[in-house]
């Protein structure tokens, strides 16, 4: 997906390794960087994102916390207030609900209510997303709750390059960030890529055009980037040219890239896997209505999860989630409007 895709396979790195490298490099560069979470030290994390970090940086900086999401967030807030840069891991992003108050009322608002006195460099990160049979509590994409809580950045990379670059940018941002890692991508071979040898970041608030096209814009992020790319392939076979935009950061949102694409295609499908009502897909539609309504030759369309939890059994899970087919259908409906 990046230029590095041509590199010899042995140098390619997966999404999870990219995250681990980001942590390692930032910890090396910033002696005030800490991380706190459940099973992140001795074990190295449920998925291994923090593997090796404790033995390298010590128990003082890589802290195995009790199963207390609210205390993890709260302690991260306190340490950040007192000069640290804290990465707090939720073992699955689903469990963020147990620390919800500390996030939306304590962490998100600290800068605001102190009129800029207290910076809040905390990244709350964790594995997210469905499609893996994780059922109701190991499949969530609950980013809309946090997009709706002013004061939080919301980030969701879809490639190893972005995973590393966005995590590093998040750790340096100075604002609290909710960082969605797509666990189905952690070890996915097809998306492995070589990463730059030198330090780099992917700035927050910049979308990426993953594929150029002229007939319809597919706006998405996370795992659905790949469904959209496949949908664009399928559309191409039918003579429809799809442009795929990977938002990468939801707050702040890169509206410019969306509108630039819309100016070309005049048709848009917004795809995400969260429940439909009050999800981020609806927000993108509303933003387009706010500022780019006259670019539309057809109604903007959403392809989202149904308004249901994520069920376990595979046929049910597929039934409620976006898929390549559903995206193709929606895109065809839009261009044929």
């Amino acid at each position: 997906m990046s230029a590095a895709a041509k590199a010899p396979e042995s140098l390619k790195k997966n999404y999870l390794t990219a995250l681990r490298e980001a942590l390692d490099e930032e910890f090396g560069a910033n002696p005030d960087a800490l991380c706190m979470g459940e099973d992140i030290g001795i074990l190295g994390g449920a998925f291994g994102v923090t593997e090796g970090l404790q033995s390298k940086y010590g128990k003082d900086r890589v802290i195995d916390m009790p199963i207390s999401e609210a205390a993890i967030i709260g302690a991260a807030v306190g340490a950040a207030m007192n000069g640290k840069t804290v990465v707090a891991e939720m073992q699955f992003i689903d469990f963020i609900s147990c620390g919800f108050d500390q996030i939306v009322n304590m962490m998100a608002t600290y800068y605001y209510r102190t009129a800029g006195e207290v910076n809040m460099p905390v990244v709350v990160r964790g594995p997210a997303g469905a499609y893996g049979g994780g059922a109701l509590y190991h499949s969530q994409m609950n980013e809309a709750w946090f997009c709706h809580s002013p004061g939080l950045r919301v980030v969701c990379p879809s490639t190893p390059y972005d995973a590393k670059g966005l995590l590093k940018a998040s750790m340096r941002d100075g604002n609290p960030v909710i960082f969605y890692e797509i666990k189905e991508l952690y070890r996915q071979r097809e998306i492995e890529e070589e990463l730059p040898a030198s330090d780099y970041i992917v700035p927050l608030g910049q979308a990426a055009v993953r594929r150029e096209g002229s007939d319809v814009t597919l706006v998405t992020y996370g795992n659905n980037v790949y469904h959209c790319l496949k949908a664009a392939d399928a559309l191409a076979e039918r003579g429809v040219s799809g442009e795929v935009i990977d938002l990468r950061t939801l707050v702040p949102l890169d509206e410019t890239t969306i509108f630039k694409s819309l100016a070309k295609t005049n048709h848009v499908v917004v795809v995400n896997e969260a429940p439909r009502t009050c999800g981020f897909a609806g927000e993108v539609v509303a933003r387009i209505c706010d500022s780019a309504f006259d670019l539309l030759d057809a109604p903007p369309v959403r392809v989202t999860r149904l308004d249901t939890p994520v069920p376990w059994a595979k046929p049910l899970e597929s039934f409620v989630l976006p898929s390549t087919e559903k995206i193709v259908d929606a895109a065809l409906r839009v261009v044929r409007f």
Binding site: G44, I67, P311, W312, A313, K314
Partner: protein, 367 residues
């Protein structure tokens, strides 16, 4: 192992009232619980199962000992490591008795195989099932989250004139959750019959108990609420039975909640995906020692002491000390194997739920 509190004069060990049949049944149930685990791991290795299996190997005395003495009207709230509990509830009423207040092995296997015959029609995974009818509370993944629900259930029961108690199960790590505190604090104030059984298996995933609990015993948490904190040898089904029955009696008589800590050891990985890593992050000596006191062996010894088992009978089945890959069908009583076979047969025959069900039952339709 010290006993944390003697909240009221011990009325003699409840297990002394158990008949020979009861004791032999408990022994059988230990085998059944062990076999469930062993068999599922085999099935999983054959690639027939999805999801994660949180092995209850080595913790069967807690499963059997804590629920054996419950009344049919009592409630339980098992979590991830307690799968056998779903079908072992009220099992004294007959393994295949359809009216007993527990799930059938068929239902539980259908759940494990992700089939529509599951009580929840395979909408949520593994241990996230339950039954209103059978009085089993459905957990979410969020640890300790059923304790307040359990409190609400017995609150309603009490208002209706019932005398049910509820047993909620939690790992020691889960006691660090805020909801654990809120729920027990509430139950203690209102003297609700909520018994929190803590299965202290020394590890919460990759985190040792010392990083989850600041006191020597998890039962010490009870002191913060002025409620009894019992400690049981979690490897000894009769000791678990005694301590839980003490808590049950205390709760049923209106005195309120309590905590029963059962000391045990997680014999393998956190889940089956963790077996290899667990072998690295835990000291092999600790693991070896933790597996030494197999609840099957301890129960067998007690039964021999009581002369409930003859020397011959005692060595007929020897699953103890064997990992799931070592143990074979011959290590288990045939009725145990047959029971599982029946469940699995049903599960395999049960259809997958149809896709459209994904969109159903979000809301109850208005009447």
């Amino acid at each position: 192992m010290k006993s944390a509190m003697k909240p009221h004069p011990t009325p003699g060990r409840a297990s002394e009232q158990l008949t020979k049949e009861d004791c032999l049944e408990m022994f059988r149930q230990l085998y059944l619980a062990r076999y469930f685990d062993v068999r599922l791991i085999k099935e999983k290795k054959r690639g027939r199962l999805r999801g994660t299996l949180y092995s209850s190997h080595n913790q069967e005395a807690i499963i059997v000992g804590s629920i054996f003495g419950l009344r049919p009207t009592d409630w339980i709230s098992p979590v991830h490591r307690d799968m056998p509990m779903f079908f072992m509830k009220d099992m004294r009423a007959g393994w295949r008795n359809p009216d007993r207040m527990g799930m059938s092995i068929e239902e539980v296997c259908a759940q494990v195989w992700c089939k529509s015959g599951s009580p929840g029609r395979a909408r949520d995974n593994w241990s996230h099932i339950g039954s209103l009818e059978k009085r089993i509370i459905h957990s979410t993944s969020m640890l300790a989250g059923t304790i307040p629900v359990a409190a609400g259930v017995v609150l309603a029961d009490r208002l209706n004139g019932g005398d049910a108690v509820v047993l909620t199960f939690n790992g020691e790590g889960s006691t660090a959750q805020g909801i654990f505190h809120e729920a027990i604090n509430y139950a203690a104030i209102h003297k609700l019959p909520v018994i929190t059984v803590v299965e202290n298996n020394q590890w919460a995933y990759g985190t040792p108990v010392q990083l989850e609990v600041p006191t020597e015993d998890v039962a010490d948490r009870a002191k913060g609420y002025g409620i009894p904190g019992y400690i049981a040898d979690g490897q000894d089904v009769f000791d678990v039975y005694d301590k839980v029955m003490e808590a049950v009696e205390y709760a049923r008589s209106g005195k309120g909640p309590s905590i029963v800590e059962c000391k045990t050891f997680r014999a393998y990985g956190h889940g089956d995906h963790d077996d290899d890593r667990a072998a690295k992050y835990r000291d092999p000596h600790e693991v070896e020692e933790g597996r030494l006191r197999d609840p099957l062996a301890i129960c067998r010894r007690r039964l021999i002491e009581k002369s409930y088992l003859t020397a011959d009978d005692a060595i007929r089945f020897m699953a103890e000390g064997k990992s799931s890959s070592e143990a074979t069908t011959e290590d288990f009583p045939p009725e145990v194997v047959a029971y599982l076979d029946e469940g699995i047969r049903f599960a395999l025959a049960s259809p997958e739920p149809p896709a459209e069900e994904g969109g159903m039952w979000v809301f109850k339709e208005s009447e």
